[in-house]
Symmetry: C2
Subunit: 196 residues, 2 copies
């Protein structure tokens, strides 16, 4: 299984945002929608062996399970609608235990430290200053951690260091998080560029 | 320079579409917006050495010039607004000659055959049945041709064959057009995976 954790530093935790202004009042929720697109979509198919965590302001986490996902479309508007539904769910229910919003989408009151502690696998921080991907051996159970449009905070970097996360760069250019996810998938699809 | 031609088989040519329904009444204009995002965006930067042609229903073509682009943001809503502006421009002006809409965005009444004939460079058709990218030498002046959510038509394939386009696949999985653009950029950024 491939897992991704994306840190949304300003992402809305209140469902009252407008779908027309994802980059503004929704706190760059557009970035997270594009990460969902990159993590799950293949042409006329979904990647079922993927789990994605979206950490919103280090307070709530949306978990998306490829195996169970339904109603997901590639566009930002409808993807943001699903996130809005998840946020509405936690407004009316106690999210200290994880809640199911729509099939394959869950929300809980938990931050990055809690998510990182709970995941099994080899943690790889995607970072422009990391080792080139071609020099990193592709683990069977990667957990890629990415930041949104902002840099990792010091606290996040410390948590990753404590987990002995390797830093990998997906190329010599600084990429948007969703583009880094696409390249990471391709890197694994092609067995680290070697065999394909 | 890197050039991309994306064929939008159903994409709106009438500006009266609603931004709320890009996948529906706008004819999968969401696909083309994501291709724009993939072609131009780097983290906190734009790829200036890129030209992108969006061929709409083989009748109108929007040309985007990285060197000149302004007002482009990564989200689909605002990107679609720029395309709407370009379509409005051709409603009130004669588009038999190319018209400038906003900085770096042009529109003209021209189809794929005309665009393909006008471009200089080595044409590469991105296609899931093509040769693996790692077996394709990266040209200095690639012109990647991609189809939207639909397959290439027979007429399009014939035009590409007449241009002696090589077929390349960006991996063993069938990718969305925007994901294929991301991987193609990464392929070139990393010199065909060899040196990075």
């Amino acid at each position: 299984m491939r897992q991704f954790i994306v840190l949304g530093h300003e992402a809305a935790t209140d469902p009252e945002f407008t779908l027309k202004d994802l980059p503004g009042s929704a706190g760059r929720l557009d970035v997270l929608c594009r990460c969902i697109n990159a993590a799950f979509f293949l042409s006329h198919d979904l990647r079922r062996d993927v789990r994605l965590y979206l950490v919103l302001q280090d307070s709530y986490t949306v978990r998306l399970e490829g195996e169970e996902l339904q109603y997901l479309n590639p566009d930002e508007w409808s993807t943001a609608s699903l996130l809005k539904k998840a946020l509405q769910k936690k407004e009316v229910n106690d999210a200290s235990e994880e809640l199911r919003s729509t099939p394959g989408i869950y929300i809980a009151e938990r931050g990055f430290a809690d998510v990182l502690e709970s995941v099994d696998g080899t943690v790889i921080q995607l970072h422009e200053e990391g080792d080139p991907a071609s020099q990193v051996s592709a683990p069977d159970d990667p957990v890629f951690v990415l930041s949104d449009h902002q840099d990792f905070t010091e606290a996040e970097s410390e948590l990753l260091a404590a987990r002995h996360a390797q830093r990998a760069s997906m190329g010599p250019k600084r990429l948007h998080a969703n583009h880094a996810i696409v390249v990471a998938h391709n890197f694994l699809d092609t067995n680290g560029y070697q065999r394909y």
